[in-house]
Subunit: 81 residues, 2 copies
């Protein structure tokens, strides 16, 4: 069983109120490491056997059409080792 990961994040120029809320809450809780925080989505897709190039191309297409809103989001497709 292989795993393909799709990471979806808002584009840098798009305001991210969820990430900002986290970024603002951290110092109040005593955590001072963050300059900024952005929050996105992560899909773990289990596939039968080792991920093939054809599968990855298909996942890329699904991400483009369906998992991400490419007007405001970017995505990355990865194979989990």
């Amino acid at each position: 069983m292989g795993k393909i990961i799709v990471e979806v994040m808002l584009k840098p120029e798009i305001l991210d109120p969820q990430g900002q809320a986290v970024g603002n809450a951290l110092p109040r809780l005593g955590f001072t490491f963050a300059q900024s925080v952005r929050q996105g989505k992560r899909f773990e897709i289990e596939v039968a056997g080792e991920p093939t190039q054809a599968m990855l191309a298909d996942v890329e297409k699904a991400a483009e059409e369906f998992l991400a809103n490419t007007v405001i989001e970017t995505f990355v497709v990865k194979v989990e080792k």
Copy 2:
């Protein structure tokens, strides 16, 4: 500027209706690669300079206390290269 990533996913034994909805929708859209889909969160934390061990320990603590609900979720802290 360094980047630390926190990935938060529901534990395998916890029902994930969001992931299931995606997993059910994919075949309807003609995508047959997925055996199962799970959906989680991804935090991108920008830190000043290269992430240090102390910073990572702090992020780990923040994830444990605040970014993840460790009753139902697991998290992974990574440095983005």
